[in-house]
Subunit: 284 residues, 2 copies
DNA sequence: GCGCCTTTGGAATAAAAATTCTACCATGGT
DNA sequence: ACCATGGTAGAATTTTTATTCCAAAGGCGC
């Protein structure tokens, strides 16, 4: 139980705590218990707050951190904070470096994109709110027709959605810029729209979402920031932040979200034909 | 700019930000954008860190908080810290939760697709042969025109490739089934083709690849199995096995491969304009 | 082109928090 | 019962962080 090595991850830390917690003095054990049951508090609390929560003095909590191998509370807290904030590296500069150094062999590039995709997926799992997802699916499953709009970079997502919905026998209409002026009026109040756009946001997509919203249709937005112009004109908004690589992103997370929507809506519609719903509407 | 009312929830705050963000001074708008895209950072960062992230001085960020109606950064941070508890857990725990809490519900589906995507990505990194990748990129970079064909499910990949190549100023032509019979003859011997198809393979795609191959063009195939009908008619073949869940797959890995191709070809073409190549052609 | 008002950067100040220190207390051994 | 060991509380100190202030820069209408 020497203090030379600080845990490098939260898992390690919890392991360590479990190991030593038996032969820990009373107060320190209180700290261990409190941290074990409220690990989420560490990142956003001061020592004083943690100490109070554990029912000990700040100095006792301090000693607890040191027993664990940290120099103090701050160092331990850093661990928790880093694991929370999605701290993906700056891929734009990494890409530049790869280019300049000439070490930009394609396989290295591929590795970077794979890594970026992995992070994006993890982040998706962390940030999606199940309730919003449920509500989006409900809206889509109840619609007479699902309109899909996504241009430029988002077009591949839109086309995937359109294809997959079609496969699931969900009535679908894919909008593109060519015929958009006409098709805009095809959206009725009992329809639903999926609008997809990322920064820099495509005005056409936003405009169509707006029109649909005013017409009384449900609008599900898929976008990359809470400040998206899509926000005010959607009934449900799903934010997906992809790790981007300069001007490019691989859309891994967005596509995963898309396929989830399709399958969930498809099964929900079948369930409804049999008079049941998979979405909980009754319980809290 | 009345500062009388501090937002009482994050939603209110975002609404407020959206309202005023248009007539905000430059630096303050930077703050707004940064907060909107990284709302989760607020809970665990200091003003100094936030300011650096937004590319402004701490004092500017301070003013931003006050414009929003808070007394200062601390008050705004409190808001974020209070709502923090829900979405703290790290990826593994969160995924577990999604799976269990919503067995049969959309969030469980999302968990499955996220996991499937991760597996696919991992697998992609392992199975792609760097030499084949290099050679595919070489072929594409040397082509006068890159033709892209992918239908049905593969169409979203094809459209992404077309969009991204366009962005990189690589001459590109996206083929679809509508005009295909004509465009088939547009492929010349010094062109290259990217053909994408997955089981059950689309005959049109294979046929176009075949024609191009006979015409002497390089054909890069993206497919899902070594037994793909694309194999005999391609000069380079890249196999991507997506882990599927049910009948659906999210194409995470395929899109990552696609974006790699685009960036690599783009940089390679620029490098060639300067008389150098990033691909090793001499050494083993 | 001049002056006023707004915005900005950076240093100065104040507040809060972390960390250490020291005296005091409990426990276990002789 | 006394001493030694180790633990604890609370105050003192140091460090970090938030916040304010002011001078300089920038923009806009006149």
């Amino acid at each position: 139980m020497d203090a030379r090595s600080a845990p490098a991850s939260i898992e390690q830390l919890l392991d360590r705590m479990l190991q030593i917690s038996d032969d820990l003095p009373k107060r320190l054990k209180q700290c261990a218990d409190y941290v074990a049951t409220n690990p989420d508090r560490v990142a956003v609390s001061t020592v004083a707050e943690m100490a109070e929560g554990a029912g000990v003095q700040p100095s006792a909590f301090m000693r607890f951190c040191q027993v664990l191998g940290f120099s103090g509370y701050s160092q331990m807290q850093r661990l928790f904070r880093e694991s929370y904030a999605q701290n993906w590296p700056d891929y734009a500069t990494r890409l530049e470096k790869l280019r300049e150094s000439g070490a930009g062999r394609p396989s290295a590039l591929l590795a970077e994109f794979v890594e970026a995709g992995r992070l994006s997926l993890e982040n998706l799992a962390k940030t999606i709110d199940p309730q919003v997802l449920d509500s989006a699916i409900k809206a889509l499953a109840e619609a007479h027709m699902v309109h899909i709009v996504g241009l430029r970079r988002a077009f591949s997502v839109a086309s995937y959605l359109a294809y997959a919905f079609e496969k699931m026998n969900v009535p679908t209409m894919l909008h593109d810029s060519v015929g958009m002026l006409d098709s805009r009026h095809a959206i009725r109040a009992d329809d639903a729209v999926i609008a997809i756009t990322f920064a820099p946001y495509t005005p056409e997509t936003v405009k169509l979402a707006e029109t649909a919203h005013h017409a009384g249709a449900d609008v599900v937005g898929i976008t990359d920031s809470l400040a998206s112009p899509l926000r005010p004109v959607t009934t449900q908004i799903l934010t997906v932040s992809e790790a981007d690589f300069g001007d490019f992103r691989s859309l891994s997370a967005t596509l995963s979200l898309a396929v989830t929507l399709v399958v969930a809506v498809g099964t929900e519609m079948r369930a409804r034909e049999n008079g049941i719903s998979l979405l909980r509407s009754d319980d809290k």
